[in-house]
Amino acid sequence: MNIDILSLMPEIIVAFFAFLILMAGVFMGKSFEKAAAPVAALGLFAAIGAVLWFNVGRAGLFYNFTYSIEGFSIFFKIFALVVSIIIVGLSPYYIYRTERIKNHISEFYFLVLIITIGTMLISSANDLIMLFISIELVSMPAYILAGFEKNNKKSGEASLKYFLLGVLASAIMVYGFSLVFGVTKEINLFAISRAFNETDSIVGNPLLITGIVMSLAGFAFKIAAVPFHFWAPDTYEGSPTIVTMIITSIVKVAAFAGLIRLLYVGFGNYGASKWIVLTIAALSVLSMVLGNISALPQKNFKRLMAYSSISHGGYILIGFAAASANAQWSILIYVMAYVIMNLGAFAVAMIVEKETGSEEINAFAGLGQSNPYLAITMTIFLVSMVGIPPFAGFIGKLFVFQAGINSHYTWLVVIGVLTSVISLYYYMNIVRQMFFTKNEDSLSKSTSLKLPLTYIIIIALCAALTLLMVILPSIFIAISKYAITLNLFNFVK
């Protein structure tokens, strides 16, 4: 059975702190409020230490081959924890100015930590049961968080739409898992991939291909690829901005980690089946085209970011359609770049929202005069999202497109390049608002904007990383190649 409790230590530490915060909130009430965020951050830092102490150098399979530790899972665990720390660091400023969340602070941090545990478990999941349970562990708290602002009708509706479509997608995914189980007679990902390799005819099995395509549906929902994207704009707009940030960052990290594990570990040579690759390519094309075109007329910043995240999901799916070893690390680089610039952009947007009380794009008007620091960093993040050279988004797109061309998907890459030109319009619209438009009742009035220290540090950090990714891309390439080459699944084959 190989039970090794130490291998699970990071998750146990985060879970301990999650329940500690929940219980302290129940028994200590108001007096615990101020301490909740620091305690959550402490737990996350401790978990990073535990990953470095207990997981590095302990590669192997645990718990009856259901839980694996390898470069890939260590990379994603640390990444998830860092993203989570950034979210916890940004949250107090937003929460204390939001009436409804203010009274439920400990529940909020409890749910955020549970999402983090789910993401960490997904990156180690080596079994269909484990994968399913950990995806649900990420989704369920996200449904609740989306409806956290209970007296706001928009928030309840956002939560409902997210919940109904999410549960439907995961039900279809489980049905797909059952077909995969029926054909391969295994639920362990290594065993499934062995069944794939042993018989070539299994790739041409229609029942299996149906099963794989159905199980892709669940992940396509989480990354909001186009036929499954209907929840995204409504949920992004309706939920509190801090929750929108959680959905775009850590939930997406979880979805991509799960998709990489399922496709590259479980269905090892899915590239051999034309139908699966065509399905992924179709998801990618639809997301890129529809995401970018629907973003053009948007006036609400969060809704705009929803369509932008749909299109970014499309770009990353090019890497999955390419189905090569190069594509694996280029996906990791794109995910890193996307999450970093998204966190930065949302941090700026949260300050603008709370200062002006508006989520519209014209609330950014005059930010260039009232607070040049925010305006310049926001410009960096937006330009990076378009993929213009001196920023991280460019590196991400470069490697994903390169992997696509190497696998002879030039038409996919051409669509990708053309749609990123479209995206220039709506990102630059925000920049134009910040520097060239004057709005009497917005930020330009309050000339001295008080920034919390955590925001200054985190925004600077995100901007610095966005630049560093282009100045020294070799560091990030080395990290993501380490994550891929230390994989157990490459040794098993």
């Binding site: 009708k153 409902l160 059952s178």
Partner: protein
């Protein structure tokens, strides 16, 4: 013991695997149809449960016919039941909070957010 009973049943009544698969496929289609056509939130939730039940029947049937000794599919079914229970709990809570605000569970009336 249940496996032995199941084997006797299969031997005596000539029940084949595809009977179960057809039943689960029909349940899956009913579930999808229900999600697409129903307007009441609770009915939509019930239709989604039907899809989960279809997956469970698949798992148990595959497990019993193909690998009766390992019971992998049966274990998966238990986990699906747990997750389904959580889903119903969270779903009803969300529906309840919507109902308090709007006094309706009709999904076509929940339409503040669009385009």
């Amino acid at each position: 013991m249940s496996i032995a009973l199941f084997k006797i049943l299969i031997a005596n009544y000539d029940i084949k695997l595809w009977y179960f698969l057809v039943i689960s496929a029909i349940l899956f289609c009913i579930g999808i149809f229900g999600v697409l056509t129903r307007r009441n939130l609770v009915q939509i939730l019930m239709s989604i449960e039907l899809i989960l039940n279809a997956a469970m029947i698949n798992f148990v049937a595959f497990s019993a016919y193909q690998k009766p000794e390992s019971q992998l599919g049966t274990i998966f079914t238990i986990f699906i039941i747990i997750v389904a229970a959580c889903e119903v709990g969270i779903g009803l809570a969300i529906i309840l909070s919507i109902y308090r605000g709007k006094s309706t569970t009709d999904i076509s009336k929940i339409n503040i957010l669009k385009w």
